[in-house]
């Protein structure tokens, strides 16, 4: 392949390195998203040849994907939306002194997920693009339903509290401008509520601030964060990983599929986590520091984040905000994303694909070498690190909309997180409802407009019917499981 020859020159390799380092910083700070980084650096890349520029930008994209996991695991603060599910088990692991193990697992799974997605792009791009075209509003709604069905029913404790938490999430998601009718909902004439409640504000407050309040109460310490500071942990973790091949494979498939359709990396990570919990033998242990609970969301998020570039290249529709800004970049360089890019700009496309392979490998090497360094952060005394975390949370909340209002909301969500945790209202359903609520409602109502209010649109063709069927099976999985086990125990007797 000529692509590798394009990439493998010293200048481009240097750009890859810089790109990944910048990306990791962007991923670590909740205030900077991949889209920020790419948008801001885009103008700087005009002086380079487009291929070099896109290599650097895609490496930033990689770095950001890797970096998101770091703060999730260490401090329970998701640096990026798609690393929320990583906090569920990653942070408990860090609290048990297994931060290095969790980080290694996260980085390695990210690598695997991304690699599979790149291979998919390399060999199946045109075919996959056709598949993406089949997705209209009913199909989108079916996918969102499936995500929800695969995640729900996972809480311990009161089902009514789970329901309340979920409803609160949906209610918050509906605040702001309704995209279908253009009406304002629950804004009560305030300018601040126009934008609605942003997923990241809620998450930074609920998880990040909530965690600090809880730690404060239990005596100023992240419990048991004595991390080992050598590379041995990396190798030891690697020995464990192969036994989770089934989870990895499933998560790769989910991720690729969600990236292409484009459902997005965040729903992909939730769906993958939910399914891993369902199918794992140690499912009950999820949420208490199970390594599989890190592997599943990270693999899927990366596979989705990577395959999201595919609809961008082949169709000109971005699968993520970062991809959207990259799309702007392509246009500025005079490259027109779309079905013809593969034919007219071969050099560029193969350069991009080759840079995806190499950037991914380089990224993995860089972040793995830094594992002991990241883990060492936990050795800083709580009273020194806690205020810095608070400041970073505040910065993160502010930058989402450049609004003070979001900083206030972050504080409020912090209190909600603290109280909900203590009363065992589960937080994941709230967060999932907040991220999916708006999208699911829009696609449902778009479908209804198209079918003029006829619900049969949701089983009108094989594709939407199949996804819905899967969703139904998952929703009623506990019942099905029960029936099957009854049947099995009945027969031998």
């Amino acid at each position: 392949m000529g692509g590798f020859a394009v990439v493998l020159n010293p200048f481009n390799l240097l750009l890859m390195l810089i790109g990944i380092l910048l990306g990791v910083i962007i991923g670590v700070l909740p205030g900077l998203g991949g889209a920020n980084g790419v948008a801001i650096l885009l103008p700087l890349t005009f002086t380079m040849p487009p291929t070099s520029a896109i290599i650097m930008l895609s490496c930033i994209y990689w770095g950001a994907l890797f970096g998101g996991a770091i703060t999730s695991i260490l401090f329970n603060i998701p640096g990026e939306p798609w690393s929320v599910a990583t906090t569920f088990d990653g942070h408990p692991m860090a609290k048990q002194g297994r931060a290095d193990e969790a980080l290694t697992a996260a980085f390695t799974s990210s690598f695997v997920g991304a690699l599979v997605a790149v291979i998919l792009i390399t060999f199946l791009a045109p075919l996959v693009a056709k598949f993406a075209l089949k997705f209209g509003p009913p199909e989108f709604f079916a996918v969102q339903f499936l995500t929800f069905a695969s995640f729900i029913g996972m809480g311990r404790g009161s089902p009514f509290k789970t329901l309340a938490s979920m409803c609160l999430g949906f209610a918050l998601a509906s605040v702001g401008l309704d995209t279908v009718t253009g009406q304002l909902r629950m804004t009560f004439g305030t300018a601040e509520l126009l934008t609605g409640f942003k997923f990241l504000t809620a998450v930074i407050g609920l998880f990040g601030i909530g965690e600090i309040l809880a730690s404060m109460e239990s005596g100023l310490a992240f419990a048991g964060t004595q991390a080992k500071l050598n590379m041995k942990a990396v190798l030891q973790t690697w020995k464990k990983l192969p036994q989770y091949w089934a989870t990895s494979l499933r998560s790769c498939l989910i991720g690729c599929w969600m990236g292409i359709t484009p459902g997005g990396a965040t729903p992909a990570s939730f769906m993958s986590y939910g399914l891993a919990k369902r199918f794992s033998k140690r499912g009950d242990n999820f949420g208490k520091g199970e390594i599989e609970g890190v592997i599943a969301p990270e693999t899927a998020a990366h596979a989705a984040g990577t395959s999201a570039l595919l609809p961008m290249i082949t169709l000109g529709i971005p699968g993520s905000p970062t991809a959207a800004v990259l799309l702007g970049g392509l246009l500025i360089w005079g490259l027109q994303p779309g079905p013809l890019l593969f034919i007219e700009q071969k050099d560029f496309v193969w350069g991009l694909i080759a840079s995806m392979y190499l950037g991914n490998i380089a990224g993995l090497v860089i972040v793995l070498t830094c594992v002991p360094l990241f883990a060492a952060i936990l050795r800083v005394p709580f009273s020194a690190i806690a205020p810095a975390i608070m400041v970073i949370c505040a910065v993160g909340a502010y930058t989402i909309n450049n609004a003070m209002f979001d900083v206030w909301m972050m504080g409020m969500f912090g209190i909600i997180g603290y109280v909900f945790n203590k009363l065992s209202y589960p937080l994941p359903p709230l967060v999932l409802a907040l991220v999916l609520g708006d999208m699911a409602e829009s696609s449902f109502r778009q479908s209804m407009l198209m079918s003029q209010g006829d619900l049969s649109i949701f089983w009108a063709n094989g594709l939407v019917g199949t996804i819905f069927g899967l969703g139904m099976i998952l929703l009623f999985w506990p019942v099905i499981q029960w029936v099957i086990s009854k049947a099995l125990t009945a027969k031998p007797a």
Partner: protein
């Protein structure tokens, strides 16, 4: 790149003439920004306004047109209301400018947000964005008239029109088209972004769209979409071939095809209200320099923009007219916010 040498000489000359006229105007800016200038985008990342704003940012940096940095910030909430309220909240701040699209008029009218363009200082119109009526290339309709006849002959709401947002430009055009369909309505399906709308049309989930050229051009070139007509008074000036047999200028105007609907969207720059003449002049000068670069001309051609450039009183007058037009259109379509 590829499109650069496709640039038609005629359009180059025309563009150059307009710009030369502008450059000749006495714009000796006595004022200069003393800190970074914020460029607000009242729309999300990846859309048309976003692309243009980031492109301007790129040109300013590439050609070193300003000593201070330009900081691009998206404030898309509430169909752009967030961005407009932000710049309204800091009158006389010369370090803040905003790029506008039709939501400058539609958002306050449709949502009742307390905002009007008169709260701002008009700086310059950069271009007018075109709208084209698109159908899937496999659809049997060859002209706009064919398509509207089919709508007329079909059952009410049988045909689905995809568009961006609700009660905004795409839906306004849709309502205008409905005047010509003998009482038959479209089913208007709102989506979040223009790129997504074009792909929904390629996937045949909707029957037609009124995408901006730049949003649909890639699919057109790939032979997936067919343009029926351009919602402008005269044809596009870009004569270079975009597909194997058609140029932008080969798309008939809607009026030519017997569909008397015209609509174009403002792509302009406003500054905070109450800034001084010197300050306004600085931005006029800056944008003039941006529009003189070859990069800008390539961008204009790619998106088949109508290169109408206005500043000062002329621009103000145009905006006044456009506001009136939007009010009338939206009143007719019953899109105005209900004020209890």
């Amino acid at each position: 790149m590829m499109l650069k040498h496709l640039l038609a000489p005629r359009s180059l000359l025309l563009g150059a003439a307009v710009l030369a006229a502008l450059a000749a105007a006495p714009v000796q800016a006595a004022w200069e920004p003393t800190r970074p200038v914020t460029l607000l985008i009242p729309a999300g990342t990846g859309g048309g306004a976003d692309q243009m704003a980031r492109f301007i940012d790129g040109i300013v940096k590439k050609h070193n047109l300003m000593k201070q940095n330009l900081i691009v910030v998206n404030k898309a909430g509430g169909a752009g209301a967030e961005g407009f309220l932000d710049i309204k909240s800091t009158p006389r701040d010369p370090h803040k400018i905003i790029i506008t699209l039709s939501n400058l008029f539609t958002t306050p009218l449709a949502t009742g947000t307390p905002f009007n363009w008169k709260d701002l200082t008009p700086v310059a119109m950069l271009a007018l964005d075109q709208f084209v009526l698109w159908v899937n290339a496999e659809a049997p309709y060859k002209t706009a008239q064919d398509y509207l006849n089919a709508v007329k002959g079909g059952s009410d709401r049988q045909f689905k029109m995809g568009g961006t947002g609700s009660k905004q430009e795409d839906q306004i055009i849709t309502v205008a088209l409905e005047r010509l369909t003998g009482g038959k309505k479209f089913t208007y399906v709102p989506f979040a972004g223009g790129g997504a709308v074009a792909v929904q049309l390629v996937g045949k989930h909707v029957d037609s769209t009124v995408n901006n050229p730049i949003e649909a051009v890639a699919q057109w070139r790939a032979g997936a979409l067919r343009p029926l007509c351009l919602f402008d008074g005269k044809r596009s000036i870009y004569t270079a071939k975009v597909t194997s047999d058609m140029a932008w200028s080969d798309i008939p105007t809607c009026k030519e095809s017997g569909v008397n609907v015209e609509y174009q969207m403002l792509r302009g720059i406003f500054a905070a209200g109450g800034i001084t003449k010197d300050q306004t002049d600085f931005y006029v000068d800056l944008l003039t320099k941006v529009m003189q670069t070859p990069d800008w001309r390539t961008f204009m051609e790619q998106g088949a923009f109508n290169q109408t450039i206005m500043t000062g009183a002329e621009y103000r007058k145009w905006v006044e007219g456009a506001e009136k037009l939007h009010y009338d259109l939206m009143k007719e379509a019953d899109f105005l916010a209900k004020t209890n």
